[in-house]
Symmetry: C2
């Protein structure tokens, strides 16, 4: 069996962390007798520098020809003044849309080894945090019509939040399906007391819920959801929401954990299109190239790839357990090293996971 | 000197808590020789029940004829199935727009007496939390064109986020002015790597910043802001942002404090129009009518009224100090009573503040 993986290292610490994730996948392949074929292609600022385009046609082709995509991170201050079409983020948004990755899965788990390290008091964390955030990824304000005009009094800019019934249906249905493999509770987050798109979101969600009599549905307004995540994170199982709310709430969820550097994400979508896996952290230009970035988010994303792209549940678990072992026993990169413990580099950590 | 105050009790616990705020204002007036004239008018669900309109013309007139407006809270499950025009929230949005209240000020302070009660670990709170969130209140997704259409494949809904240069300028300028009375640091929150309105927001903010050489400006992306508020709230002084982001972040900020019931807000706007004061909490239908709601958010909002509407700084401070005393020594409503302490009702707390 051969799987083709498009590797898009991107910017900042992206290349360092994807290198370790590839190392781990190679170790898994060797142990399990599976062949992974890696095809590297540029994206983001690196692609702008090389080709003038943050998502060049050859990268798109490499992605569409792959069984799965592993992405590092994009962006950095160097490209902040570029016109929109040449910004790294535009490349990422085109990639997501291009492969139809409409559902972004972000598990928010407080690792037992790091339970005491997050910002919340232990009483608030209580029995632990284990949330699966499902963020709609190819609609809403990110892809609606937008523009800016000169007016007599200055400028006037607009963005449009658009959703259709099928766009909502498919991502909400995926959230319900995923809830079946968990605690069977879906919280759908919207702003239906103000937004027309949210009222449609709520109607469609209620219709989808009827297909899932065994899963409980609750609606929550987005402002209240931000509050509840901080006050009572234990009440969330699966949280599903639209693109912009999901961007904010998933980073808030990440903040509740000990280290952002640990969190993976998977973006699943249209049948026949390759799913996309990337760590939640950004390109961290301040520590790029120093060999100290935490590769565990990228490695955990590779584990999600094994599970969701290739159905290799056993291999996914093995990687996740290796990560858990490392969190407890080291080696640790500086962001998660316990006070006084020796710190290791990105590559040491990657090799240690691969060995296990 | 006579000041006219329009009192809009609204729904749920709104009437109970505004009653105590009025009691405190009357005590202040008696002590300081100022006459407050109160005119009560319906809004929200109560107004729908009475007149079919959540913001009836007589309420609008009472507001426009007043020097300041005190609002309780609006909304409740009873009106959730009403068509949009008859929903309590629509009344609130029309009130804000009607009086031109474009800047919503939400101080997020962890009261010394409750420092240990919030969800964050003491090391995270560190030297304390003292943030002034300035939320744009009459633009963006809340007021842009919206609609829903039938399509062959289902429905299609949209909302529009619109901002103009003057709309951004005036609220950002107010944030800078307020920063001068504080620690002189403004963090402007946007999503300029995706949204056209955010790119305009950033351009206008940089231009306004040039008028304030003595105030430091930092830009932050909204997802990162949600994260930083939880990980490092001490780094924020004044946070300014657009309407929807402000809705989410200000409730997140509120969650960082011990009790939502304590937080006030002021909505300031066009010259010659009455500013609006309301507690941050909602209508809390589950505890309405039981006399146990915490009136301190409404009372602290009345203190903001004394300061921002009437320039009565000394009187505002006196009320705020009375509130601080009560937090330390009681009486306490159930939401903030220390474990084992006797609990008091809404009216006991109102009378205790008024006495001081
Ligand atoms: C880089 C940016 C465009 C992106 C987003 O907003 O989706 C990022 O914040 C994320 O969450 O993956
Ligand atoms: C009730 C609702 C329309 C309102 C808002 O979103 O502005 C509320 O959440 C608030 O923050 O005052």
């Amino acid at each position: 069996m051969t799987y083709r993986i498009a590797v898009l290292p991107g910017d900042g610490i992206g290349p360092e962390v994807t290198r370790e994730a590839v190392r781990v996948l190679e170790a898994v392949g060797a142990a399990a007798g599976i062949r992974f074929e890696f095809v590297e292609a540029p994206i983001g600022g690196a692609a702008v520098d090389a080709t003038g385009d943050p998502f060049p046609p050859e990268t798109e082709q490499a992605c569409l020809a792959a069984d799965a995509i592993l992405l590092g991170a994009v962006g950095g201050p160097r490209w902040d003044r570029e016109p929109v079409a040449r910004r790294p983020e535009s490349g990422l948004l085109r990639l997501r849309k291009g492969v139809g990755a409409y559902a972004n899965l972000r598990p928010v788990r407080v690792h037992p080894a790091l339970a005491g390290r997050g910002p919340l008091r232990p009483e608030v964390v209580g029995g632990g945090i284990d949330i699966l955030i499902v963020r709609e990824l190819t609609g809403g304000l990110y892809y609606g019509e937008r523009g800016v005009q000169q007016e007599p009094f200055g400028e006037r800019a607009y963005d449009t939040m658009v959703y259709t019934t099928p766009e909502i249906e498919r991502v909400v249905r995926m959230a319900f399906q995923l809830a079946r493999g968990r605690r069977r509770r879906v919280i759908s987050v919207d702003k239906s007391n103000v937004l027309e798109t949210s009222r449609l979101w709520r109607r469609v969600t209620e219709a989808v819920a009827e297909e899932f009599g065994d899963v409980e549905l609750e609606h929550m307004l987005v402002d209240n959801a931000a509050m509840q995540l901080v006050r009572n994170p234990g009440r969330f199982d699966v949280l599903v929401t639209e693109n912009t709310f999901g961007d904010i709430l998933s980073d808030l969820g990440a903040a509740l954990c000990g280290s952002l550097g640990l969190l993976p994400s998977a973006s699943l979508g249209l049948p026949g299109r390759p799913p996309l896996f990337e760590p939640v952290h950004g390109s961290a230009p301040d520590i790029a190239g120093r060999g100290i970035a935490n590769p565990l988010g990228a490695i955990a994303s590779a584990a999600m790839m094994l599970r969701y792209a290739f159905g290799l549940e056993r291999e996914a678990r093995a990687v996740e357990e290796a990560v858990d072992d490392l969190l407890a026993a080291g080696p640790w990169t500086p962001d998660i090293a316990p006070p006084g413990a020796p710190v290791a580099g990105t590559e040491d950590v990657g090799r240690a996971v691969a060995r296990r």
